[in-house]
Each structure stands twice: as C-alpha cells, then as structure tokens.
C-alpha cells in the first residue's frame, strides 16, 4: 500500500465526489442507491489505482454506468435488436414549469437502463458510438433504447394532458 497513492485517491474523491454523486443520483434516482453506487465505484477505483490513477474519473464513471446497466453485458450473448431507422427525432413536452416537473417525475420512473442511455446522450452529450462503448453494447441497442425511453416518457406524460410537440427533421 503506497501512501502517495492513498493521498491521491483521497484528493480525487474529495474533489470529484460532488459531481460523481450527482451522476449516481441521476442514474439511480434514489439517495441510498446513489451512495451505494458511488461507494462501489470508488472502492473498485481504489483496488485498481495503480493502473487508473492518471485518469480515474473516466474509470469511475464507466463503473457506475456499467454497474447500473449490467444487464446489457448478460444480454450481449444474444442477438441484438436493431432498428432500421434510428430515432433521430426527439419528443419534448412544452417547457412550462408544470411540464418540467412532470418530466422530472417521468425520468425518475424510467427503468435504470433507459435512464442511463438518456443521461449519456442528453446530459453527458456523448455520441452514440461512445455511449455504446461505455455501456458495452451496440450502437443499434443505444438507438433502440433511446427511442424506447422517449416513447415511454411520452406515454407517461400523455395522460396528464400535457401539450407536446413532435420535433426533428
């Protein structure tokens, strides 16, 4: 055990834990689950610190995503379901305060894997190929999950009578 490594790890955790707990919370939508997820990721980072200390945050984030959507790794042995037409168009509700709160609740209610895809695509603003790489799945799966997530958001919000707009090319 190296004292300098321990100090580096402590400094990294102190500096980045606020940002990382936010990511964990967006992924889990639950305080205790978020804390568990972050602790699990940091513990694994500590275990491999010699190898990852030059870029620990990317490693920690990837662990968090993969822990949260580990089902994809099991699913990888099966054939992927891909879509003929990627969902380039997005659906968004009207941007009123009420609609914003409803969208927030709908995001909380999404299954973890769909929320993770939206986080990577819409919050982290990553291209599909990079999302696929992080999650260990195909680009086609990223597209289909994004489409399904948006469709589910739409179905959850539609009964509330919110106005919506189809946008896109």
């Amino acid at each position: 055990m190296n004292e300098r490594d321990r100090q580096e790890f402590a400094e990294f955790a102190a500096a980045r834990s606020s940002a990382l707990i936010r990511l964990a919370y967006v992924l889990t939508a639950d305080q205790h689950a978020a804390e568990d997820l972050l602790q699990t990721a940091l513990t694994r980072a500590a275990a491999h610190w010699e190898r990852i200390h030059t870029a620990p945050e990317a490693y920690v984030r990837q662990i968090m995503y993969r822990e949260q959507v580990s089902w994809w790794r099991r699913r990888a042995r099966r054939r992927e379901t891909t879509m003929a037409d990627p969902p380039e168009q997005a659906w968004v509700p009207a941007a009123s305060a009420e609609a914003r709160l409803d969208l927030l609740q709908a995001l909380r209610a999404l299954p973890a894997r769909k929320r993770a895809v939206l986080v990577l695509r819409y919050l982290e603003d990553l291209p599909e190929a990079q999302v696929a790489d992080i999650l260990g799945c195909s680009v086609g799966t990223v597209r289909s999950q994004t489409h399904k997530a948006i469709t589910q958001l739409r179905s959850m919000l539609a009964p509330a009578g919110l106005s919506s707009t189809e946008v896109g090319p």
């Binding site: 967006v26 305080q31 804390e35 602790q39 500590a46 610190w49 941007a95 914003r100 995001l107 819409y122």
Partner: protein, 217 residues
C-alpha cells in the same frame, strides 16, 4: 445535442441537483478497495498493519479454535464429494478483460477479470461454517468469516505457507466455486488455525450475495 432536446437535458440536470451530499469516508473506501484487490487475510497474526481492523476478530477466532491434529499436506484436489468442491488455487496472472473463448482462465465476479491459475492448490467439499461479520460499528465493509473442517486445516496451512509473501499476484489464493473465482485474497501469513476472514463487500447485500454463491453449488 439539438436545441429541442433541451427540456430532457434540463430535467436531468434538475434531477442531478437533488442528489444528496456525498459524505464519503475516503480512508475507509481506500482500505476497502485495497482489500478487495488484495483481499487482505489474516488469522492469529496480530499486528499486521494492513488488516488492523480484523485483529479483534482474528484473536477471537484463534482462541476459540485451536489447531487440530496433523493431516498430510498435499497440492491438487481432494475430497471430491457432492456438492462440487470448493477449490483453492494459486493465482498466476489476472487479466483485466473477459476470458477469451477456449482459454484456461476462469472468470471472476466482475466479468472484467480473467484469472489464470497455477497447479498449486487444494479442494474441499465444504466449509465447516461461513458467516457474515462486520468488524465493529462505524467501520466500513462486511467480511466473511470462514472455518475449515478439521481435516482440511493442515493442508490449508501448508498451502498458505507456500504462498505467503510471494510477488503479487502469486501470493493470491483464488477461491473458486462453479468455475468462478469468487475471492482472491492475498496471503500475508500462514493460516494454520483453519479460521480466517476475507473482505466481502462494502454493503451487507454484497456480502450476502457472495455467501450465496459460495453455498450455491
């Protein structure tokens, strides 16, 4: 990202802002991480700094379970009865990737690790007991406390004697059930009492899952 996607992005940011304060004990996480990798292991050898938190348990175990009678030492498998045996094998190499098809490696619990093992090892039909313990209130993590059957104690003592203080990862002992490496503790002392503790996870759920996998054979 296109402009019309902004409400989803904003909502995700709103959600992120509701996150709790981190409140981490980084020292505890560091120790847990190092133990996860090297899975520090000890019994009656009090004073091993890397496993200080385990010392009270180790002393308790040592006093409660004196060394049993001698059993011939051996390498390789023994006690092949149903249920399938638990194997202990020396680690030769750990690759940070899934085991290639057709390789001799065995997967770990994370699926991102592949363990290559030497022929040094032994097998047991079962543990006398395995229980989940938390060293003391306020300390981080959960541990599995193992007790070997008396007939296995000396073989295990000889095996751990061979591995102690070798260069990493040759000082690690893979514990295998159902062809999966569930644990790979570093051997820092010969374990001659048949009682030892291994770090099993930061949460009780992780420890319970590990225990379940050890029992599900």
């Amino acid at each position: 990202m296109t402009e019309p996607d902004a409400p989803i992005t904003i909502a995700l940011r709103d959600l992120a802002e509701q996150a709790p304060a981190p409140g981490l004990n980084t020292d505890a996480l560091w120790r847990a991480g190092r133990r996860r990798r090297w899975a520090a292991i000890t019994t009656s050898v009090a004073g091993i700094a890397a496993a200080a938190v385990l010392v009270p348990l180790a002393v308790l175990s040592a006093s409660a379970h004196p060394a049993p009678e001698a059993v011939p030492a051996s390498s390789g498998s023994a006690g092949l009865h149903r249920p399938p045996p638990i194997q202990f094998r020396q680690v030769s190499r750990i690759a940070d990737s899934r085991c290639p098809a057709g390789s001799h490696g065995l997967p770990g619990t994370s699926k991102d690790e592949c363990f290559y093992l030497t022929h040094t090892g032994m097998a047991i039909s079962r543990f006398a007991s395995v229980t989940i313990v938390q060293p003391s209130p306020g300390t981080s993590g959960y541990w599995l406390s193992f007790r070997l059957q008396p007939a296995d104690v000396n073989r295990y003592a000889n095996l751990t004697q061979k591995l102690q203080n070798l260069a990493s990862p040759h000082d690690q002992l893979a514990i295998i059930a159902n062809r999966v490496v569930l644990l790979h503790p570093q051997i820092v002392a010969p374990l001659d009492l048949g009682v030892f503790q291994i770090y099993a996870g930061h949460t009780r759920a992780q420890a319970e899952q590990l225990l379940h996998r050890l029992q599900q054979r």
